[in-house]
């Protein structure tokens, strides 16, 4: 959920105070785990290339959803577009041979490299596929955000 900056600051300060108290009194605490496998937005890179293929039938062992094959100067990249790229009233529209830029994170899963695309840029238009945590944005979420004037 989206919370205000004030609420976040309050939460951070509260947590800091609690942490300080805990350190002071050396209470042994075991926290719930942190997220070690998050989509790390700080590791995002942008690849430029030409669309060489659009894969809509997912092969076993690959991320479910649409994939885009991008021919870059470094070779072909398999970019996962997620589960909703081609759904809804405002789907992503790309064609083979089109020049695009994709921004995301390269991940390796079970020996396979896949580029987790968060945005696709063609011309001046940027299409957002995933949020900053790497979660797919559904058409309904896209419509609700537009109605509320929120950016994706």
């Amino acid at each position: 959920m989206r919370s205000s900056v004030f609420e976040k600051l309050t939460r951070i300060v509260s947590r800091a105070l609690v942490s300080a108290l805990l350190v002071t009194f050396a209470v042994p605490l075991i926290a719930q785990p942190s997220d070690s496998h998050a989509y790390d937005v700080s590791k995002e890179i942008t690849l430029s290339g030409t669309v060489s293929g659009v894969v809509t039938k997912t092969a076993p062992g690959t991320l479910l959803g649409a994939h885009l094959l991008l021919a870059t100067v470094s070779g072909q990249v398999d970019a996962s577009l997620g589960r909703w790229a081609f759904a809804g009233k405002d789907p992503l529209s790309v064609t083979i041979g089109q020049q695009i830029e994709v921004t995301g994170v390269m991940q390796t899963a079970n020996g396979r490299e896949v580029f987790i695309a968060r945005t696709v840029k063609f011309g001046s238009h940027v299409y957002t596929l995933r949020n900053a945590h790497g979660i797919d944005i559904s058409p309904t979420a896209r419509e609700l955000a537009a109605k509320r004037g929120e950016s994706l």
């Binding site: 075991i30 719930q32 690959t62 479910l64 945590h133 979660i135």
Partner: protein
């Protein structure tokens, strides 16, 4: 004289005579165009007071007479009937809600459609109002408590709604959740019931009366359908929902929605007496107010309706652990439904309702709608008792673990087994995710049972981290311990108990949930006998991810499965068009892992022969055996998660025991 002049003269003469008798008017008369103004509205004799049993229709439709200042009836006036929006109340058949507008007839009488009591007993007033009259006609109605002599079954499910212009108005699939309770007589007829249904944006229907239906089950296999009739045309097909059911025993069935309005998986369980109290664990998953995946998990205690607890939240990738909360539990109605009030977790207010399954199990459903009721949206889950156990690291022994993604989150499924070392809080094990294409992965990590928040230790509030990271993204889990005597898959089953609920705390896997079951018997010879099975699956078509669900029954002998089932396929995974498949052959042979004696792992190609010559009939299961009666699996051809549950006795099932009509859509 022309014919026109003669005609006009005749009309004036006739009207003049009639107006003397009945105050006749016509469009050509300029002396009597005034529409009578309503002056009073009164109930028609015999329509008030009335009483009806909860869930039943009142015997006489509500009717009110509208008159003008001279006491003459006013025709064509709009009369709005309004019943209370909460508590004891009811719904009108035509509108499917607590409000309905009807027009007076030539006698000045407006008559409502059939009015059906909801499931809350009590007296209340329905008003009838007409514009221009300050007072209302009042109908004194009473919902009388049901004398429940028929068994009540509680059901819940979540999945994907099919786009439909006349119901959800969406062009893309929507998440949805439903939960409810139905009383079924010995002939298999639904005699009463209620349900809550929520897709979070278009259909949020609270406490919908279930007025009829039937449970039809094959007496040998326990497979069949349960129809639920409502007056709400937004639900199912014109108000009737059909669930596919696969009974594991008389008290428990796997269910899928089976009517092409939606597809989902869940369960149906016999309600036993008792209300949840003491300490509990809970899980809830669905979508938030932005229609992004969200999951909640935690522990809480209840005392005299007062709830205190702690919860972890993974909301659209933002993880907040250790959120302490309070709430109050309202009293249940005659079918065990009640509200959980004043619940705010991590700044999000939830509009939760519960259905009691028994003293240690409830189903819970979030009935927000895009932030207009609470601040959440739609979600469904369960609460389970913790018994009197004080949980320590030793409480989490060798176990089977299974997880699956939220229908609107990333589609993933994981199953595995772990061997724990309580003294060090570490584990090793084996697990599969869908992306490893059937290759077992060695896992290891740490865990901690009964953690603290703000110097308060919460019993059973636990965590587990997979630190060597062989699985795609699954690494951090919230774990919430449950009563070692409570069977999480089949809460009325006195065997197979123990384990925990699991919330995925990896940000990209927001909404993912699962369970832990003690692994007490990996003997392959005990994976034998008759089983109920079912799974929820996701697949990509045209690059977009959709859902199909199935359940079945079969016998396993020498690790060979032979059975049949139902497949709900409204997005056309198996065939060229949406279909509901019945009598689907399901066959396969399980191959034990080389280390099966330790990890309980099998692989099984499962042929689900839904559509002739379909290239997609060959599913691929990886199975983990907790014991001979409970096995969890993931499916790798699409992305699926399901279970095998050994069948017990079906004697005494309150069902029409005709075999399900065998219609295969091929």
């Amino acid at each position: 004289m022309s014919r026109r002049i003669v005609g006009s003269a005749l009309a004036v003469f006739v009207c003049g005579v009639l107006s003397f008798l009945t105050s006749c008017s016509s469009s050509s008369s300029k002396t009597s165009t005034t529409t009578p103004t309503p002056s009073a509205i009164t109930p028609v004799s015999g329509t008030s007071p009335q009483s009806a049993q909860v869930g039943a229709a009142f015997g006489t439709a509500l009717a009110a007479t509208v008159t003008d200042s001279s006491g003459s009836p006013v025709s064509g006036a709009s009369v709005t009937f309004t019943a209370p929006s909460s508590g004891a109340s009811g719904t009108f058949k035509t509108s499917g809600s607590a409000t309905e507008t009807d027009t007076t007839n030539s006698s000045g009488v407006a008559t409502s459609s059939t009015f059906t009591a909801n499931m809350t007993a009590g007296a209340y007033t329905v008003t009838a109002a007409v514009s221009g009259v300050s007072t209302t006609a009042n109908f004194n109605l009473t919902n009388t408590a049901a004398v429940v002599t028929n068994p009540v079954y509680v059901f819940y499910a979540s999945g994907t709604e099919v786009p439909n212009a006349s119901t959800n108005g969406s062009s893309t699939p929507l998440y949805y959740a439903l939960a409810g309770a139905v009383a079924i007589n010995s002939s298999g007829n639904v005699v009463s019931g209620e349900e809550d249904y929520n897709d979070g944006v278009e259909i949020t229907e609270l406490d919908v009366p279930i007025t009829g239906g039937a449970l039809t089950v094959d007496a040998t296999t326990g497979q069949g359908t349960l129809t639920l009739q409502t007056a709400n045309t937004l639900l199912g097909v014109s108000g009737t929902e059909t669930l596919g059911v696969q009974f594991a025993n008389t008290d428990h069935a796997l269910i899928v929605q089976f009517d092409e309005s939606a597809t989902s998986s869940g369960s149906l369980d016999l309600q036993t007496s008792g209300t949840s109290s003491g300490s509990n664990s809970f899980l809830l998953s669905g979508v938030d107010s932005g229609y992004d995946p969200v999951g909640y998990g935690g522990v809480y205690s209840v005392s005299s309706g007062a709830i205190t607890g702690v919860a972890d939240v993974n909301d659209d990738g933002t993880i907040a652990t250790g959120n302490e909360f309070t709430a109050t539990a309202g009293s249940p109605d005659s079918l065990g439904r009640g509200a959980i009030n004043n619940l705010t977790i991590n700044g999000v207010t939830l509009a939760l309702y519960y259905y009691n399954v028994g003293p240690e199990t409830t189903r819970i459903i979030d009935m927000d709608v895009a932030g207009t009721v609470g601040a959440g949206a739609a979600a469904v889950g369960s609460t389970y008792g913790q018994g009197s156990t004080t949980f320590t690291n030793s409480s989490l022994g060798n176990s089977v673990v299974g997880l699956e993604g939220d229908p609107f989150g990333l589609s993933y499924a994981v199953a595995g087994s772990i061997i724990t070392t309580p003294t060090s809080g570490t584990f090793t094990g084996t697990a599969d995710d869908r992306q490893d294409s059937g290759t077992a992965q060695a896992i290891s990590g740490t865990y901690s049972v009964s953690n603290s928040v703000a110097s308060t230790t919460y019993n059973g509030y636990s965590s587990l981290s997979i630190t060597n990271s062989p699985l795609a993204n699954v690494a951090s889990l919230g774990v919430y311990m449950t009563d070692p005597a409570l069977n999480l898959l089949d809460p009325n089953n006195t065997s197979g108990g123990g384990g925990a609920l699991v919330l995925d705390l990896d940000s990209v896997l927001s909404g993912g949930t699962g369970i832990v079951i003690p692994q007490t018997d990996t003997t392959s010879a005990n994976f034998n006998g008759t089983y109920a099975l079912g799974a929820q699956e996701y697949f990509a078509h045209g690059g977009v991810v959709f859902e199909f669900d199935y359940l079945g029954q079969g016998s396993v002998s020498s690790l060979g499965l032979s059975g049949s089932g139902l497949v709900s396929d409204p997005f056309a995974f198996f065939g060229p068009s949406p279909a509901l498949y019945t009598d689907v052959s399901m066959t396969g042979t399980a191959t034990p892992d080389p280390a099966e004696a330790t990890n309980g792992r099998y692989t099984m190609p499962l042929v689900v022969d839904a559509f002739t010559a379909s290239p997609y009939d060959n599913l691929s299961l990886t199975i983990y055996q907790a014991n001979g009666g409970q096995l969890l699996f993931i499916e790798n051809s699409a992305v699926g998660f399901g279970s095998f549950q050994q069948q017990g006795s079906l004697t005494g099932l309150p069902a029409n025991r005709r075999p399900v009509k065998k219609v295969r859509q091929k």
